[in-house]
Amino acid sequence: MKKWLITALTLVTVSGLAAGCGGNSGNSGDANEGKSGTEQGGKSAKKTELTFWGDWGGEGQKQFETMVDAFNKSQDKIHVKYVLQQDMITKFLTAATNGGAPDVLFWDRWRTSLYAPKNVLHPVDDYLTRDGISKDDFYSESLNELSYDNKLYGLPLTVDARALFYNKKLLAEAGLQPPTTWDELEAAAAKLTKWNGDKLEVAGFSMADLGLFNMYLQQAGGTMLTEDGKTNFNNKQGKQVLEFWDRMMNKDKVYKVGFELGLGEGQDAFVTGKVAMLYSGPWMLSTYNKYGKDLEYGVVPPPAGPNGDKGSVMGGFGLVIPEGSKHHDEAWEFIKWWTANKDNALLWAKTSLNLPGFKPSMEDPFFKDDPLWKPFMETLEFAKVRPSHPGYSVMETDALAPNLQLNQQNKLSIEDTLKKSQEQGDQMLKDNEVVK
């Protein structure tokens, strides 16, 4: 009986596994090709089918599809299909190894230093040279973020940076001009704050996002990491930032911990006038514009630090080609069409209300003459991307931010905050660096 049982079990297991594998390897690519093939009919059977993965749904999906349709109409050799992946990066992890990789990937640029060393992205330097695309047409910082080991792995699709949003009405009532330095920011924030007993009614300035430490540090003239990949904030500059925060939080009391938590779009504290000034990025413009009449606001570049240093953090997305794609050349054509062509980049920018990565398309009056876009373009001139160390984001969220939070709640002195952040941060950078 035992023999019988084992045989049966083995048989079922093997057939189950085989069925599972068979289904897996053949699914996405074939299914897509088959479907699009019939859609195209016999008109042009030789079109190359490209799969484009992104994790923007809803409005974002429509914006992507607008671009994909425009591209498909512009030529008759390539047909691109946008596939929405909710959990894109996790899916890409398995797809990259089992052959189901897409041809083009929507890419949060900071991930490059983590993925490029694993050889899952296709370098594009040769294409750039071949097609005579000048790197000067892109912000060098955004290209740096897409590079690893002197190789470029894609082109920037959007660029963004934080700038200071202010409520025009509240500032006018208080007789204030938008601040340009730390001192002015502090004075304005103090004047704009309104307390009713121990209840905060209007916060002069939002101090919710301690992740902006990087930006303040730049304004104080510092950098997050040293050249050789160690933390670089346990010094005079780091201290200046924390002392500035301490004055705002504890002396001027311009903010209360947890004030904005859970206040979504409609109740957003800036929209409802409960926060007078805050650092945010261009992605919030469309949200704030929705409340047009009720909310009059302006944007200025981030105020300069004690020695006049300017600083902001650049971020944004790019398009990359996975090494596992079978159509590197065609994928490049698509990326080039979208990101390195003035008209197309502009169409994308207007469709999605993002600053495009391609500088010439920013010359357009749509950006040049808009008082809300201008401060962001000024900010981008000096904004820096986050350091490209694979352990950087872990260091920032798990070593630095927790200590900053303790400091904000007066549970850790400035000196100890910086010291602990340095010790824990250096350890995390070491634990998460590229293993050779």
Partner: protein
């Protein structure tokens, strides 16, 4: 005699046939992944390009991973408050709602409702209730002259808020288990006790509580396992903050594996968590030491 054995063999064969699908699923989706994870915890597997045997390196790194131990301290602290309160409240609710009074079914439904809500949806609503300035809870507190804390943003109250939410969500289902357990206590025990002059307290202490031992064992074990695997509520409410006081091992394992591409090391962390769950379940088994066989 011979025919008897034949029948037995036939029955056994049918039984094996019936359990085969379940056992297969169990093997494919539980046993194999666990064995794989154990193997991976001795490698530097990164999903994409590497899978070399590195021996005990991952476990050596675990020893001085302060953040991991902090997340363990967090969930232990959480369990310490959550598990006893969970048992106490669900038992009280069970006792209260086991009587047949008017409208009892309505109340049973009300207490069970939160269990049906998705953790994420419930957490989103609770963020609102717990808001320091505009939330209902601090609003009520201000009527009696207390300035409530910023529940989710202050290090001293963040974990407490999560305990509140998870209790609200889990006592309903445990109440049902206790209700079932209470139904199983035979009436003649109470009758004879009453004849011997036992009061209500005595009845509970000497009859109900001992009779409910298997139920309590089940409820407490599930609560401990659930507590050690705390993830979605903590993630939605506080994202592990402030200052990492609500970060949990499961969250850290996910981050290490999928965000940092260190699946080998994440597997080692997961194994430590599995061991912790095993140890605590064993301790719990010792403490409740069910007299009759459990499950």
């Amino acid at each position: 005699m011979a025919s008897m054995r034949k029948v037995e063999r036939h029955q056994a064969r049918t039984a094996y046939l019936f359990i085969t699908p379940t056992v297969l699923l169990f093997v494919v989706f539980t046993i194999i992944p666990v064995v794989m994870a154990l193997y991976l915890s001795f490698t530097n597997y990164d999903v994409l390009s590497r899978n070399d045997w590195i021996g005990l390196d991952n476990y050596r790194r675990l020893a001085h991973d302060d953040l991991l131990w902090k997340t363990f301290r967090n969930v232990f602290l959480y369990s310490l408050i959550f598990v006893p309160l969970n048992i106490l409240i669900s038992l009280l609710l069970g006792l209260l709602l086991s009587r047949a009074w008017r409208g009892v079914k309505l109340f049973r439904t009300f207490y069970y409702l939160p269990t049906l809500t998705s953790a994420v949806a419930a957490a989103t609503v609770w963020i609102w209730l717990l808001h320091p300035e505009f939330g209902l809870i601090n609003g009520l507190l201000s009527y009696v002259g207390i300035t409530g804390p910023a529940w989710l943003s202050e290090t001293r109250t963040a974990m407490l808020s999560i305990v509140l939410l998870t209790l609200w969500q889990s006592v309903g289902s445990n109440m049902i288990i206790y209700l079932a357990g209470l139904q199983g206590v035979p009436d003649y025990l109470y009758e004879s006790a009453r004849l011997d002059g036992a009061n209500k307290m005595d009845c509970f202490r000497y009859i109900t509580w001992p009779q409910l031992r298997p139920t309590t064992f089940l409820v407490s074990t599930m609560a401990i396992i659930g507590a050690l695997q705390l993830f979605d509520q903590a993630f939605v409410l506080t994202q592990g903050g402030p200052a990492n006081v609500t970060k949990t091992p499961v969250y850290l394992i996910y981050q290490q594996g999928f965000n940092q591409l260190q699946m080998g090391y994440a597997s080692a962390q997961a194994f430590v968590l599995a061991m912790a769950i095993l140890v605590f379940s064993l301790i719990n088994m010792r403490i409740s030491k069910a007299e009759e066989s459990v499950i």
